[in-house]
Amino acid sequence: MEFTVSKILWTLLGLFIVLNWGLIMGGTMRKIVARVGKRYGIPIYQPYIDLIKNYSIRSQITHGVMFYLGPVFRLSGGVGIFLFLPLIIGSNHWSNFSFSGDLVLILYFQFFGMLGMALGAGEGGHPYSVIGVSRGLSQFTTMEIPLTLAVISMAVQYHTLSIADIVAAQQGGIMHWTMVTNPFATAAAMLSLLGALGHSPFNLVKAPNEIPIGPPTEYHSTFLGVLRTNAAILHVVEAALFMNLFFGGAENWGIFILKTFLIYFWSVFVGVVFPRFRIEQSIRWFVKIPLVLGIIAIIVIL
């Protein structure tokens, strides 16, 4: 890992690409959901307009310091994952600041944004925010267990905690991907990804027509703009993380875009088919199926 000016510039360029791809991908997915409902749907550039609109709202109100810091923490959670995630295999420019223990750090960053947001939303003082936070944290905690088991299983399999090394070990065709060599870990992780991305069966955290939008109830204008920016980045980097861990990584930006699209589409696909779980159903489901798969993955690999 080296900190040169050109390295930082390449990383910023990567962040810019990821942000734009996240916005376009979000718009495309909403278009797909609309077509499933036989609607015409939004234009795919709508997320850009929403973002400009949110940043251009003239008035803001605040509830305190933590209310300001909530979106900042959330954004640093998303950008933090991005910074330590190699995007393209073997490329010096697009490997960001990945190092030998980055997988553990990324798992930590996933939770970091959640906690910051929980503190900020708590200071917002809206009762629905607090309900959303308690639901979000309990669901995310349950979802992390199978994911962590899958990651441990892979760490044992490849004898490393470096994402770049895990990707390098999967090169040489589809039969070398973790998806084939360690199917139980992949299944456990892909099921917990559904909870991480928060589409339909597990979207009770933000459930717009039940608890008005959950944690961000009080967030508006620039605050909401920051949250939306983070959501666009986070969706791509989550998909890119799973692409690196289970689906052989990407040799170039074309394959990167294709694979992240398909991985994100997996959660949207499940989302349009299945209706929303209640919180106790969702937690029971995570403890039943993905957790058992994760334990099997550990037993098989040992």
Binding site: R39, Y40, Q46, K53, S59
Partner: protein, 223 residues
């Protein structure tokens, strides 16, 4: 003096002045209406001085109208069809938001009872500037079929500024979509500055609102 007495009479129990024992044993006075709510007067939010920037932002605002999911009268039944395949407002950039903080447009859908007017004012004041109001149906214009009712207001624009009226009893969803198109034109032309008008004439609006709402038990401006 009389006004404050009146105000205290309608306050909820949790908002009344009282003495509370703190964890360390000392007794403290709290007045929730002073301590919990902001009593600053709202300020006029000026548009950007540079015209081309303001024009670009107005274009973005017009293409991304987030309406508050709050139905006030019988006209609220005309809003759900807008998200169905037949009318589909999403293609015009119009989306529903569940919270006033994130919304820009407020559809007053039909008659307003005095009880609802209070909630409407609270929600409207919690929305962030620039904000727009669409008044749906003839009840909001002159009272419509409820013009002599003891419990509904007749003219909406005495209580909050209205950008677009959509006449009819009830207007169909197409009329509502046409209203959105009209609102877009107004925003793009920079004429949808009614939020500032509300602030400039705040005293007049507040006097009108307090004349109707007898049990006024909230702060003067709901931040």
């Amino acid at each position: 003096m009389k006004e404050t007495e009146n105000k205290d009479k309608f306050l909820h129990e949790e908002n009344k002045k009282r003495e509370v024992t703190a964890p360390d044993g000392s007794i403290i006075q709290i007045d929730p209406m002073q301590d919990y709510f902001c009593d600053a007067r709202p300020q006029v939010q000026e548009p950007y001085k540079i015209k081309i920037v303001e024009k670009f932002l107005n274009w973005a605002r017009s293409e991304s109208i987030w309406i508050l999911g709050f139905g006030t009268g019988c006209g609220s039944i005309e809003i759900p069809p807008l998200v169905t395949p037949r009318f589909d407002m999403f293609r015009y950039g119009v989306q529903m938001r569940p919270t006033p903080r994130q919304s820009n447009a407020f559809i007053i859908s039909g008659y307003l009872s005095v009880k609802t007017l209070k909630r409407v004012i609270r929600s409207y004041e919690q929305m962030q500037s620039p904000k727009y109001v669409l008044a749906l149906g003839s009840c909001t214009i002159n009272g419509g079929m409820y013009w002599d009712s003891y419990n509904t207001i007749n003219r909406l624009d005495q209580y909050m500024p209205v950008d677009v009226y959509i006449a009819g009893c009830m207007p169909r969803p197409e009329a509502l979509l046409a209203g959105f198109m009209k609102l877009k034109e107004l925003i793009k032309a920079g004429k949808a500055e009614k939020a500032n008008e509300y602030i400039e004439n705040l005293d007049w609006y507040k006097a009108n609102q307090k004349k109707i709402i007898k049990d006024w038990n909230m702060p003067d401006y709901n931040w």
